[in-house]
């Protein structure tokens, strides 16, 4: 058995290798589902928004199916939607994705998970990437979501909930991520 290759930071210059091309527009006009924008900032332990951070997301399609051979559910695939996106930040340290709201997916032990987006964060200064999840504040299913419920501190669950808003007629979910501090986002060991 071999040992895992250690993680190292993406460093300050990851953009030349990882974000030369925009990869944050995940939905086309023909993608099934509710078009949404997801955006936010990532804050360090001093409360400053981080410019050299990179966020990647992975999500199911509008029917709740992942574009992956291990997802054998009898739900439709959407050929226009890979489910993966990557964003650096703009001049205001904001990351963003143009995507669709995912459907619910199965959880462990016969449970159903509320619609969510899987999130991973990289930055200069992060030696290891951090995993979190984005849930939607207008989903009643959050109350029964097994992963949200696994966060025993109810106040901390709120760090995983994106806030629905609107701008120029578009739905925008705001999801800020705090690496440290009083409202430190919940990160997962998975």
């Amino acid at each position: 058995m071999s040992k895992q290759t250690p993680s190292q930071t993406v460093g300050p210059f990851y953009a030349i290798g990882l974000t030369r091309q925009p990869m944050n527009v995940m939905a086309t006009d023909s993608t099934h589902g509710e078009r949404i924008r997801v955006e936010g900032q990532v804050f360090d332990g001093d409360g400053g928004a981080i410019p050299d951070v990179m966020v990647e997301i992975w999500q199911a399609n509008a029917y709740g199916r992942y574009n992956h051979p291990d997802d054998k559910q009898e739900k439709p695939l959407d050929a226009t939607f890979s489910g993966w996106g990557r964003s650096g930040t703009d001049a205001n340290c904001v990351y963003s994705f143009e995507t669709i709201k995912p459907g619910p997916v199965p959880g462990s032990d016969d449970s159903v998970q509320a619609p969510h987006i899987n999130v991973v964060i990289f930055a200069r200064g992060m030696l290891v990437h951090a995993y979190t999840r984005l849930y939607f504040d207008d989903e009643a299913a959050n109350a029964n979501d097994p992963v949200l419920r696994s966060v025993k501190n109810k106040a901390r669950r709120k760090t995983l909930i994106a806030a629905r808003g609107a701008r120029e007629g578009k739905t925008v979910y705001r999801f800020d991520i705090r690496l440290q501090g009083d409202n430190e986002t919940v990160f997962f060991d998975m």
């Binding site: 290759t5 300050p12 030696l127 290891v128």
Partner: protein
């Protein structure tokens, strides 16, 4: 519903901690609270595969992919290796993204203000995909060392950044590898953030004379190990 087999956990003896005091910018940029354990579901066991990705010819040749018609300056190197899981099974058809400084130790990036020349024929970025045996190969130039502001007279040893996905959301890895014999390596807090000596050794490429091409380029080998799958099937209750 039968959940597909989960992946092994992250091996925290192999990976650095979030906060490593000698690497100053890590201290305010990593979680301080305990990570919440998450039992892997379909959300974690699946992940982007890039099965439809079509690489342009030459994306794996950083010495020429600036598309200027001229070749980058520096010592040509050929980097080969295998991407494996912890059971030594090859990880085929997986995307590898590559980025690095030029031969003078400067990145083609506006934030890099190191007073060293840029090379107009070198972007420092490339991509390749592993074959059915998990093997990859790309061509580049050996990057230079460069100064940084972490501590007085701080220099990063020559290194190349690699980004890999593997078959799932949890097999994601960003790493960097180093070249044998570089005197800056033991002084580098990023290298030293890996908690074990054996882990640090797994960030070292080796010189590969069998890969070296006569009168053309030196060969290096760097194998990469991603998280493997748990050996015991995992099923939910009926």
């Amino acid at each position: 519903m039968i959940t597909p087999k989960p992946y092994n956990p992250r091996d925290w003896r192999s990976h650095p901690p979030y906060s490593f005091a000698a690497y100053g910018s890590s201290v305010k940029r990593g979680p301080l609270k305990r990570l919440i354990p998450l039992k892997q579901t379909l959300s974690e066991i699946t992940g982007p595969l890039f099965a439809d990705i079509k690489l342009e010819p030459g994306e794996n040749d950083l010495t020429r992919n600036a598309d200027t018609g001229r070749e980058a300056l520096g010592e040509r190197i050929i980097v080969v290796g295998r991407v494996l899981d912890e059971d030594d099974k090859p990880v085929p058809n997986t995307l590898i993204e590559i980025w690095q400084a030029n031969a003078a130790g400067r990145y083609h990036h506006p934030v890099d203000q190191h007073n060293a020349p840029l090379d107009p024929n070198f972007t420092g970025a490339g991509r390749c995909v592993t074959n059915d045996k998990g093997e990859y190969r790309y061509m580049t130039i050996k990057p230079g060392a460069y100064p940084w502001l972490n501590h007085p007279n701080a220099w990063r040893p020559a290194h190349i950044h690699l980004s890999l996905f593997g078959p799932s959301f949890v097999t994601r890895l960003v790493t960097q590898f180093f070249f044998p014999g570089d005197p800056l390596i033991p002084l580098d807090p990023i290298f030293n953030s890996v908690p074990t000596k054996s882990g640090r050794e797994r960030l070292m490429a080796s010189y590969a004379h069998d890969v070296t091409e006569p009168e053309f380029a030196l060969g290096y080998r760097f194998d990469i190990v991603l998280r493997g799958r748990k050996s015991t099937p995992f099923e939910g209750p009926q």
